[in-house]
């Protein structure tokens, strides 16, 4: 993530959460926090407790975030942010918490007098983590048509090309899902499982080989000892935790999308 991207991300994050941008240059951002974000980011529970107890006027803080070191920002007091800084990760987490669930409607233009039906889709953005003593993630965005059961990949990318709105547009009506969203999740999980099964799993085989190798060494180390000491079992367990291949699928975010039926 480049410094420019960080500043853009921050600006959008604060604006969409009702914080006003007080000052902005190429390299820094000063925001007036909302009460809600002050509570979430600034870690001052005693202050908020005090304000709430005494009924005082809340004064949320201003936050200056510096993304570039240049002539203008050198003299500023504020927090210097880069990709690894704890503040940015705190904001990443906040963003993920705040953007987990969604329901949107496609902004469809009615042609003629008839109203437009909008079909329900379940959209999930998922992370597949392949883990042994090493780790890799894969991103997957799937959409499930909650009437036909059809599954579409790169669903999020497709959504980004549409005009979407949180309220049902005029002259539109929604069709009730035949597949319940919770069983829809189940169907998508099965689909993910099939994708994973077809994957190349050399990484897992190699991890198991490393595991067996270390296990053989361990057994050899204690082979002269009739009754194995406790540390043998501790080590055995540690090897399992270190090497055992595991795949975790977690949902980053997702929700319901009511879309116009289309042929493509």
């Amino acid at each position: 993530m480049q410094q420019n991207d960080i500043q853009q991300f921050l600006k959008r994050y604060f604006q969409t959460n009702d914080c006003s941008i007080v000052e902005e240059t190429d390299g820094h951002l000063t925001v007036q926090l909302s009460v809600e974000l002050d509570k979430e980011l600034m870690n001052r529970p005693f202050y908020w407790h005090y304000i709430e107890r005494t009924g005082g006027t809340p004064a949320p803080m201003k936050l200056t975030l510096i993304t570039k070191q240049n002539e203008q920002t050198r003299s500023l007091t504020g927090e210097r942010l880069h990709f690894g800084s704890p503040r940015l990760h705190q904001i990443f987490q906040s963003a993920q918490r705040r953007g987990s669930y969604i329901r949107l409607y496609e902004q469809a233009q009615a042609i003629g007098p008839s109203s437009i039906p909008l079909h329900p889709w379940l959209g999930l953005n998922m992370r597949i983590s392949y883990q042994c003593d090493r780790k890799k993630d894969q991103f997957l965005s799937l959409g499930l048509h909650l009437i036909s059961g059809a599954i579409v990949e790169q669903f999020h990318e497709k959504l980004q090309r549409l005009a979407l709105t949180p309220k049902i547009p005029d002259y539109c009506f929604t069709i009730s899902p035949i597949i319940k969203p919770s069983s829809g999740i189940g169907r998508l999980e099965q689909y993910v499982k099939r994708i994973i099964d077809q994957d190349d799993h050399t990484w897992a085989e190699e991890a198991i080989a490393r595991w067996q190798e270390d296990k053989a060494l361990l057994d050899h180390f204690y082979e002269d000892i009739a009754e194995k000491p406790e540390c043998y079992y501790i080590e055995e367990e540690a090897l399992e935790e270190q090497y055992k291949p595991k795949i975790t699928v977690s949902i980053i975010n997702g929700g319901l999308f009511y879309l116009q039926p289309r042929t493509a």
């Binding site: 880069h82 690894g84 090493r134 990484w203 540690a238 975790t248 699928v249």
Partner: protein, 553 residues
């Protein structure tokens, strides 16, 4: 075939929101959440993610290489055995950060010598943004994810039991050569720790016997060098790591050792200058008067006091006065007459020859200078003396709080010419912007001297460093300087070399040894002979160390 786990935590809340018709995120918030998550995805099994999280840190090529090798080829279990001064802590920090970013490590136990606990915690926080906490209260074990402690604390109950209940993902042990003996409590404690990922840090993986490496490796990866019987039969007692290629290859699978010579780092030069000072008549009389106390055995209950007073007399009359005053207070009015005599001699001294020399030198250097002294009274005096002569300075002490240290460093960097420090301390203050060090008086412990110089002469110093060692002629100082300078050739050595030698000699208490020589020698001749003996021991250790370096290449 492979276990697949579906995380169901998202689902529950989703169903609830459908029932309650919300709350729903905005489209923008939803996209931001996804972008954040995508930035944190780990694209590949290979390579390092940590550097892009740490743009302010510029690891050296060999440090990055070590981190990569540990993660990609050693499966996260390794002995990091670089020579002193090459940044093992940075390597360990990089590796730990890498595993934390990848989500493979969350709970971490870091065991280091007691004196380094806070420094480790600080470096991990400041350089790596790893929220490491020094263990001070016993609830820390359970409540904090990354804990730094001394092994001596950790191995004792109640800590020991609590630690064994934790599920650590990574264990890091600094100064791991202390675990060379498998019969010790420390060894047993570490052996029974669950070590999923593990880093053992040591600059001296083998000190004496080949079994030491066997015990160290067996702690990390039991069986890698066979079991005890097999090892003894195969490699025996007479063999060494250098002569056995097979053993060396095996060890190298779990150990990385970079040497200064082959890191390709250009170290800037050290220019060392001895500055001999002659006492004024009054100062000489004062020094002799202190020396006379030696024959007056009744009054001084320890050799330490006498030698301290001699050294103080070489530093400043203020330093000596301070000690004397404390001693007099203990006599509660019943003051022996020789104290009175000493006080008179102190009063007779009107100028400080050393301080005048320092002033002259500082003016000539006309650049930033650090003055190190052993005594606080001297520190205060020097600050006053320089002020009188139009040179501003700031003091620096080990006891300053972090904030004050940083403030003094800033002042020194931007405003004043001189910093007067009493303690080099391992407190990790880097003063690379300064290139001149005056050792106003010399510490007797060579490692402390090394630490002093290390404040300015370290990795990253681009300019040559000038070191001025002050010593008063015909005093203890001259003896010490001769030993450190001519015999040990301390100042010519590269960083850390002396550390190897002293460890090899088991000579961590060189200072006590010197005290002994000075106090118990009946005459100059005896003292010289003892010094010669010491020098030849050091030479021997030096050769042994060099031999080892040669053979291990």
């Amino acid at each position: 075939m492979i276990e697949i786990e579906f995380d169901s935590s998202w689902q529950e809340s989703f169903v609830e929101r459908i029932e309650k018709d919300g709350p729903w995120a905005s489209w923008e918030m939803y996209q931001l959440a996804l972008e954040a998550a995508e930035h944190l995805l780990i694209p590949e099994f290979d390579g390092l993610q940590a550097p892009k999280h740490l743009p302010h840190l510029t690891p050296l090529p060999h440090q990055l290489e070590v981190a990569k090798q540990v993660v990609e080829q050693m499966n996260g279990k390794a002995i990091l055995a670089d020579e002193v001064g090459l940044g093992k802590t940075i390597e360990a920090g990089l590796i730990l950060k890498e595993y934390m970013i990848r989500g493979l490590v969350k709970k971490v136990l870091i065991l280091v010598p007691a004196s380094l606990v806070s420094q480790w915690a600080m470096e991990l926080n400041e350089k790596f943004f790893i929220p490491a906490v020094p263990q001070k209260k016993s609830y820390v074990w359970e409540q904090c994810d990354v804990v730094v402690s001394s092994i001596d604390t950790a191995k004792r109950n109640p800590h020991r039991d609590i630690i064994y209940e934790q599920q650590y993902d990574m264990v890091i042990i600094d100064e791991a050569h202390k675990l060379k003996n498998n019969k010790t409590k420390n060894y047993e404690f570490v052996q029974n720790l669950k070590k999923k990922f593990c880093l053992l840090l040591t600059a001296t993986p083998i000190q004496n016997r080949i079994e030491e490496i066997f015990h160290l490796v067996s702690l990390l990866k039991p069986g890698h060098l066979g079991n005890a019987t097999y090892f003894a039969e195969t490699y025996g007692k007479e063999r060494s790591l250098q002569t056995d290629e097979h053993l060396k290859a095996l060890v190298n699978k779990v150990m990385i050792r970079n040497r200064r010579a082959n890191t390709g780092i250009e170290w800037s030069k050290r220019h060392v200058e001895t500055v001999m000072i002659d006492f004024s008549k009054e100062e000489r009389e004062l020094y002799e008067a202190v020396q006379m106390l030696k024959s007056n055995g009744a009054m001084l209950n320890s050799q330490f006091s006498l030698i301290t007073m001699l050294r103080e007399a070489c530093s400043s009359r203020e330093a000596l006065f301070f000690t004397l005053k404390n001693m007099i207070n203990k006599y509660e009015g019943n003051i022996p007459s020789y104290f009175q005599a000493l006080m008179e001699k102190i009063n007779a001294v009107t100028a400080n020859s050393k301080a005048e020399k320092a002033l002259e030198l500082i003016r000539r250097i006309d650049d930033k200078v650090i003055i190190f002294t052993e005594y606080r009274a001297t520190q205060l005096y020097l600050q006053w003396f320089l002020q009188q002569n139009g040179i501003s300075s700031v003091p620096f002490r080990g006891g300053f709080k972090r904030g004050k240290k940083d403030w003094m460093k800033e002042l020194f960097k931007n405003r004043v010419q001189v910093l007067i420090a009493t303690e080099a301390g391992g407190e990790g203050i880097n003063l690379q912007f300064c290139h001149h060090v005056i050792n106003y008086d010399l510490p007797w412990n060579p490692m402390r001297l090394e630490q002093r110089i290390g404040r300015v002469h370290r990795l990253g110093q681009t300019k040559d460093v000038h070191i001025y060692n002050f010593a008063v002629r015909n005093t203890v100082e001259e003896h010490i300087l001769k030993l450190l300078y001519d015999k040990i050739r301390l100042f010519e050595r590269v960083v850390g070399e002396l550390d190897d030698i002293l460890t090899k000699m088991n000579m961590n208490n060189l200072e006590n040894y010197l005290h002994d020589i000075f106090f118990h020698s009946h005459n100059e001749r005896e003292m010289q002979i003892k010094m010669e003996n010491l020098t030849s021991m050091i030479d021997l250790a030096d050769q042994l160390t060099k031999g080892e370096h040669y053979a291990a290449k």
